[in-house]
Each structure stands twice: as structure tokens, then as C-alpha cells.
């Protein structure tokens, strides 16, 4: 009998990636939904790494009931070959009902390989996961976007276990749950002696000092604001906010790609998202529609952004922004 919800904890240089903590927290929602149906599942974190002791506390803090820790020098940094072996062996041993993995570059590399080896189904880039209330089983309903974000599908994995899904960073929120348990199970297995892929060099990307996904407030601009970026930047500065951009704006060259929000940019979840001159095409909104307060300014009353905005202003951003800046300065004074 398969049971429990497993979350693979992604570590880079022995730091837990936020997405894994977000998944642990979200798994607790599923745990509650399962309980209603009479399934008593634990939320279990899988840690594959080397000398990982320092990360255990955070995992319990954000929602793990148990941790299965597999340590080996070969697992020091995640590798397709060794990490997938560790996860597969753990799954064979412990038989989880579901396995969630963050859809980072690493997660999206390892998850499909693990799913194939386990002959089970994997749903990529889930934006929503729920327990199926109607089914007489542990079935999960996993919703994800397709066709470039134009369409959503609810996917199920009825016949195989574990049910697997990858989830993008910032889709879920991490919450301090401070679970009482601190059970750690040590797991040992063997690894191939030869490494198929060798790391020659690692280099940081240039110009990468900005991470808008951590901002509380984002002031974002669309293509029509290309010649008015000074107004955007000034308001952002007054608010202590980061500057976001649509793909169209990035393409004009007025701002670099690190600021791009959306399907092919970053997913952000700020408290406030101010969209200036952004039409609201799905490719963009997919990256920001979970913001707590969305303020949209656009000249076009039919712009799709107004369908997701909490405050919608049909007006000229170029006229409004300087006035907004004045008001903010007055408030500070």
C-alpha cells in the first residue's frame, strides 16, 4: 500500500531551495484534505546530499513530519545520475503515494528521469494540486498550463504510484508550521563508481544582481513604457520596489531580461504588483497573477489585465506616475 506525500528537498551548496520549503508547506494542505477522506498521510522530505545536518531544522519548520536522509559524497551536489538513483531507491523502499519536486532547472532535469525509471506518471509545472474528493482513492488532481499558458489541464495519474508532479518556484507559499515531529530516517544505498557527466567549471551569470522574485512590491512596465522608464524607476524607488517588465519591453532593449515577468521570465508573488501599460496577455499574467494586490494602469479599457486586477485604472500611466510620485513624497514628509 502506498502512503505519504514525499517532497524532494533540493539543496544547492547545502542550502535548501525555497521551492522545496514551499512544497513542504503545500503538502500540509494535501495532508489535511487526505485526513478528511480518512487517509492518515505524513509529509516526508527526501534529502539527498552530503553533511546536510544544518538543513534539517528548516524542513521541519516548514512542514515536514519526517525526513529520509541519504548521504553520500557522490550526492554532494545534485547530479542526474546519482540523485535519481537515490530517489528511486528511496521510493522503492518506502513506497510513497505521491512525490513532489520543485520545477527548478535541477528538478526538471531529475524528475522525468525518476518517473521513467519508476514507470509512473509525472505532471510538469503544476499550478494547483488538490485531493480528488470524488474518487475512492488517493488520487490527486494536478492542474497545469499548456499551449504557452493559453490553456489549463487537470491531469490525473490513476493507475501508477507514486503520483509525481513538479511545481514552479513561488506558485505556493512557504509557511512556518513548526511540526512537532523531528523523525529522521537514515537511508543508505550504492552508487555507480563512474560519473557519466563531469563538472568542468561553474560560473555566475553576469549582471545577475537583481532578483525581483524576492521583492515585496513590484512596479512593472509594458512595451509602451519603453521611452518612459525613468518614471517607472522613480516611482519604484519611492516605494522601495523592484522594477518588472513584460517580454515586449525587454525586447525593446530598455531593460534587461532579469526583470522579465511571465511564462518565459520569472514567476513573482509580491504583495503589490503595479502594472503600467501592460496588456495582460496570459504569457505575462501567468507570472504574476498570485500577487496579493494587483493595480493595473492602461489606456485601453478592454485590456485583459483588468480581469485580474484588484484596482483597475483606465488612464495614461505617463500622466499618472509623476503625480503618484509627488503624492508619495508628500506622505514621506
Amino acid at each position: 500500500m502506498n502512503k505519504d506525500i514525499f517532497v524532494w528537498i533540493e539543496l544547492r551548496h547545502n542550502k535548501v531551495q525555497d521551492v522545496s520549503l514551499q512544497l513542504l508547506s503545500e503538502a500540509n494542505h494535501l495532508q489535511a484534505q487526505y485526513k478528511v477522506k480518512g487517509y492518515d498521510f505524513d509529509v516526508v522530505g527526501i534529502i539527498t546530499g552530503f553533511q546536510t545536518h544544518d538543513v534539517h531544522a528548516d524542513c521541519f519548520k516548514y512542514g515536514a513530519d519526517k525526513l529520509i536522509v541519504c548521504e553520500d559524497i557522490k550526492l554532494q551536489e545534485a547530479s542526474t545520475q546519482h540523485t535519481s538513483k537515490a530517489i528511486v531507491d528511496i521510493v522503492h523502499e518506502f513506497k510513497p503515494d505521491s512525490l513532489l519536486i520543485g520545477a527548478s532547472v535541477i528538478g526538471r532535469d531529475i524528475a522525468p528521469r525518476v518517473a521513467a525509471r519508476l514507470n509512473t506518471g509525472l505532471t510538469a509545472d503544476a499550478t494547483q494540486i488538490e485531493v480528488d474528493e470524488t474518487a475512492n482513492s488517493t488520487l490527486l488532481l494536478v492542474t497545469r498550463p499548456a499551449f504557452g499558458g493559453n490553456l489549463f489541464g487537470t491531469i490525473v495519474c490513476p493507475n501508477t504510484r507514486p503520483q509525481m508532479a513538479t511545481i514552479r518556484p513561488n506558485v505556493f507559499e512557504k509557511r512556518e508550521l513548526n511540526k512537532a515531529s523531528n523523525t529522521i530516517i537514515e537511508f543508505k544505498t550504492s552508487f555507480d563508481s563512474i560519473d557519466q557527466v563531469k563538472l568542468i567549471k561553474q560560473e555566475p551569470k553576469l549582471n545577475h544582481s537583481i532578483d525581483i522574485s524576492k521583492a515585496r512590491i513590484i512596479v512593472s512596465a509594458g512595451r509602451s513604457m519603453a521611452k518612459h522608464m525613468d518614471l517607472i524607476r522613480e516611482v519604484a524607488e519611492e516605494l522601495g520596489a523592484e522594477v518588472g517588465a513584460s517580454r515586449g519591453l525587454v525586447e525593446t532593449g530598455s531593460i534587461t531580461k532579469e526583470h522579465q515577468v511571465g511564462q518565459t521570465g520569472k514567476t513573482v508573488r509580491p504583495l503589490v504588483y503595479i502594472a503600467c501599460g501592460i496588456s495582460g496577455a496570459v504569457q505575462h499574467t501567468a507570472g504574476m497573477d498570485k500577487a496579493e494586490c494587483i493595480i493595473a494602469i492602461n489606456n485601453d479599457p478592454n485590456a485583459s489585465i483588468f480581469q485580474i486586477a484588484h484596482i483597475g485604472i483606465v488612464g495614461d500611466a505617463v500622466t499618472i506616475l509623476p503625480q503618484l510620485k509627488e503624492e508619495l513624497l508628500k506622505l514621506k514628509a
Binding site: T80, R113, A124, F152, K201, Q202, P301, G315
Partner: protein, 259 residues
């Protein structure tokens, strides 16, 4: 050296519109294109061919319409094109697709497989790694640049979120490439003129002999329960102003978040 390039013909989803009343995609009039990530895979293979000599085989799983795309691959210098097509493959999820493609690839015994990272319709990025698993070969995903290749190994640059890595893998190996760091070359006249004289090998399940439990809808552990478009909310109140009223409403929305 034998290279297989996996390509997919997809609808151009960046231009797709939604029928708001039916909640479905409007598919008519949407052109079919080569999946953008796959174009880098093809360009990489053709560059290896130019520099070191290689036999480049383009393989696609799809309906007969995908032949047009294969002709365009011939027009750029591909040596061989294979279309995998059979009603039995319809409804495949990534698991079943990778089973089918792996069976076809095994017949060619390549040194390198180049695939795109993900398709703009499915958006899963799963097929590449799952094929590598089936074939029991190493994989490197998110490849932006080929650094070096020889009979024994391949060296590439891989893009992570905040850094890059130079990685070396033994061959045979599967890489998945990103768009658009390596733009696909245009069709040249000589290869275009000859594009229709070269044969396209069509492989059906009669050729691949896959058990029906491994392919198509039956062979898919994941199934689509339902599809829907983003819901259109009801009446929205909009403030039509560019002056005080607009600014004041923004300030009041912001005030709980300002300290």
C-alpha cells in the same frame, strides 16, 4: 558520428487566441512551426556536421503533416529524415511518447541525441530525459552552447537560473537545448531544391513492434481529466481617470503595504 535530432511540429502558441464564449483555443489559422527549442538542437547538429563530419538524422513523431517540417530540415542539410506516425500513438503522454521514440532511436544506434528542452504546446520538458532513461544514457538538459565534441565525449554549457556550468559527458549522450541562443540557419538553395528528392522513412507500430500497453492513450500513466481556459471574471469596476481620482485610489490601495 551519427546524430539524431528530435523535433516537433507545434502550433504557434504565442499567437493563439481564446474563444471567450466556449472557453476553448482557437486553432484555425494558427500556423504550424518548428518548436523553437528544437531549432537550436538542429543547428547544433548541423554545426557538428560542418566542423567534424556527421550523419544527421531528424526524427519526429506526429501526423503526416509533419513531413513539411522534415522537408525544411532537408533544405538545411539534414542527411536523413524519419517520421514516426501511427494512429496507435495518438493520445500519448510523455511516458508513452518517450517509449515510442526510444524504440525508433534504438534502430539507429546514435552517438548523440539532440532534442529541444520543451515544446511550446505541451511545455513539460519531460520527453528528452525520459528517452535518455529508456536508452540508459547520460543526459544534459538546458544546454545553451556546444563547446566541444569528439568520438568519446561532448562538452557543453548548461544554463541554470543564476549561473552556468561547463559539463563534459561520455557518449552516447542526450542533450536538450534552449532557444534562441543558437539561431537555426536558413534553408540554402541546393538543399532546398533537393529536399523533395530525398526519402522520408515512415515508421509505424508495425515497424516498432511496441506492445499496445506501452503506447498511445493506453500506455499513458497520466491522463487529462479536463481542460479549460482561464475564467473571465464578471463585471469589473474601472476608474477612468488620469488625475487625482486615479492617484488617490492607488495610494489607498498601497497604504496597508507602506510603512
Amino acid at each position: 558520428m551519427k546524430i539524431i535530432v528530435l523535433m516537433k511540429q507545434v502550433p504557434n502558441t504565442t499567437n493563439m487566441l481564446i474563444d471567450k464564449e466556449k472557453g476553448t483555443l482557437i486553432r484555425t489559422g494558427v500556423e504550424s512551426i518548428m518548436n523553437p527549442d528544437d531549432t537550436n538542437a538542429l543547428e547544433t547538429a548541423l554545426q557538428i556536421k560542418e566542423k567534424n563530419g556527421a550523419h544527421v538524422i531528424v526524427m519526429t513523431m506526429g501526423p503526416t503533416q509533419a513531413e513539411e517540417m522534415l522537408r525544411e530540415c532537408y533544405a538545411r542539410g539534414a542527411d536523413e529524415c524519419v517520421l514516426i506516425s501511427d494512429k496507435a500513438f495518438a493520445g500519448s503522454d510523455t511516458w508513452a511518447t518517450s517509449n515510442t521514440l526510444s524504440a525508433a532511436i534504438k534502430r539507429y544506434n546514435p552517438d548523440l541525441i539532440c532534442a529541444g528542452r520543451q515544446a511550446i504546446d505541451g511545455d513539460t520538458a519531460q520527453v528528452g530525459p525520459q528517452i535518455a532513461e529508456r536508452l540508459n544514457i547520460p543526459q544534459i538538459t538546458y544546454v545553451s552552447q556546444l563547446m566541444d565534441i569528439n568520438e568519446q565525449s561532448i562538452t557543453v554549457k548548461k544554463e541554470y537560473e543564476e549561473y552556468t556550468e561547463i559539463l563534459e559527458s561520455s557518449l552516447p549522450c542526450l542533450i536538450t537545448t534552449l532557444d534562441p541562443t543558437n539561431p537555426l540557419r536558413l534553408m540554402n538553395v541546393t538543399d532546398t531544391w533537393n529536399a523533395y528528392t530525398k526519402p522520408i522513412t515512415v515508421l509505424t507500430n508495425t515497424d516498432l513492434q511496441l506492445d499496445l500497453s506501452l503506447i498511445g492513450l493506453n500506455g499513458s500513466p497520466t491522463q487529462v481529466r479536463k481542460t479549460f481556459t482561464r475564467s473571465v471574471s464578471g463585471e469589473i469596476t474601472l476608474i477612468k481617470d488620469s488625475g487625482h481620482e486615479a492617484v488617490n485610489s492607488i495610494i489607498s490601495a498601497l497604504s496597508p503595504y507602506l510603512n
